[in-house]
């Protein structure tokens, strides 16, 4: 299986590479459209600030490539947020794969949310073998509200989308690569998806 982690200069990609390695696979880091197109699985990471990450994506022309991909694609954290229509962070237009606008946490909670919270209302092959209320690791200031593409929720002040799924595109707000055994199981489920899922 060929796994490509999109390397556009935004994020902690080493941790994802190592997590995949612990599952017994090797992932390639690449910003080469040819390499990305021919992968069986694509991981779209992202850490940092949305508008600068989007600019880096545009600079490499990957903003047009990613939405056209046909194989399973997993966006993680900011990667997931950039797959949405828009994010309030830096007033940034996203890739428009998920029809939802990302907004900032407001009153009543500390921002950023840092730590382990729970996943619930699970409905995706991504969560095969995962139990409702299992813990996952999150670190973020912005969130995608619940929408028709929501396949898992987390509650922090409000209930929001902790995972999204549409066609061959998946996104997790949490970091599977840092979420202990639960995260590794979810990552493994993604790598075991067939293109028909």
């Amino acid at each position: 299986m060929k796994i490509v982690i999109i390397n556009y200069g935004a994020g902690n990609i080493q941790s994802i590479k190592f997590a995949i390695q612990r599952l017994g696979y090797e992932a390639v880091l690449s910003d080469d459209p040819k390499e990305i197109k021919t992968a069986d699985k694509v991981i779209f990471p992202g850490v940092g600030e949305a508008s600068s990450a989007m600019n880096k994506l545009k600079a490499s022309g990957l903003d047009t490539l990613v939405p056209q991909l046909k194989q399973p694609v997993l966006g993680i954290c900011l990667g997931m947020q950039l797959m949405c229509n828009h994010t309030e962070e830096g007033d940034t237009k996203g890739l428009g794969i998920f029809d939802v606008d990302v907004v900032r946490f407001n009153s009543g909670v500390k921002v950023p949310q840092i730590g382990w919270n729970q996943i619930e209302a699970l409905k995706s092959p991504l969560f095969e073998g995962i139990t409702e209320k299992d813990h996952i690791y999150l670190v973020h200031s912005y969130y995608a509200p619940v929408t028709k593409d929501t396949v898992a929720c987390t509650t922090y002040g409000t209930q929001y989308s902790t995972a999204l799924h549409k066609d061959n595109f998946y996104g997790t707000q949490f970091h599977p690569e840092k979420s202990s055994d639960v995260g590794e199981k979810i990552l493994s489920n993604f790598l075991n998806l067939t293109t028909n899922n």
């Binding site: 902690n12 080493q14 941790s15 190592f18 997590a19 390695q21 612990r22 850490v47 940092g48 600030e49 500390k110 921002v111 950023p112 949310q113 840092i114 730590g115 382990w116 919270n117 729970q118 813990h135 690791y137 670190v139 973020h140 200031s141 509650t155 922090y156 970091h175 690569e177 840092k178 979420s179 202990s180 055994d181 995260g183 590794e184």
Partner: protein
Amino acid sequence: MLTKRIVPCLDIKNGRTVKGVNFVDLRDAGDPVELADIYSKAGADELVFLDISATEERRKTLAELVLRVAEKVNIPFTVGGGISSIEDVDILLQNGADKVSVNSSAVKNPQLINDLAAKFGSQCITVAIDAKQIDGEWIVHLVGGKVPTELNLFDWAKEVEQRGAGEILFTSMDHDGTKDGFANKALAKLSNELNIPIIASGGAGNVQHFVDTFKEGKSDAALAASVFHFKEIEINDLKKELQENDIPVRL
């Protein structure tokens, strides 16, 4: 529900753990990677590596260590100690650290916090603050609590939040090493006045101290070293006790 975090801290010198560690089942008690792996399996929510080396090669040694930890460990970890530039942070994050913590360098050059937050995002920038009380006022100290500054703890904490810190790691030098409980009054004040997470550090001696810092101190996370290293407290037992006290934890 967001859970309260239990954070073991490992002191690192030249790529090795320094504080005596009493793990009979360790092959190599000085190997931070092996220790980190044991803590992650024991239920730690996060790890902090505090580098206290003072050699020329310290940057390279620390970067290599971070890479080895990221390869092995599947929970988040923070790296601190002597970090003073964008380049320092860049290599540590690239190698797999989730957060970095800055302390003295931020006091000497507060703009560093703005620069780091702008470049890497607030979520990975922790500002560590060491403070102790002088005539009833909490004063920020440098060099492990030896050198007083003119900064008031609460003013400085608010400033670092405004400059873009994502989290504060507050160590009370009055409580550190006493095993007599955390500085809960000051912690609660920080938590009330700021809107970013606060990690309590200094004073952990027994399970009740953790209960108190989460309840009275309103801390979001609690850091400790020796009580975990010497197995005076098992993380799993601690978390069960916290749960019985209605404190949300990951079990």
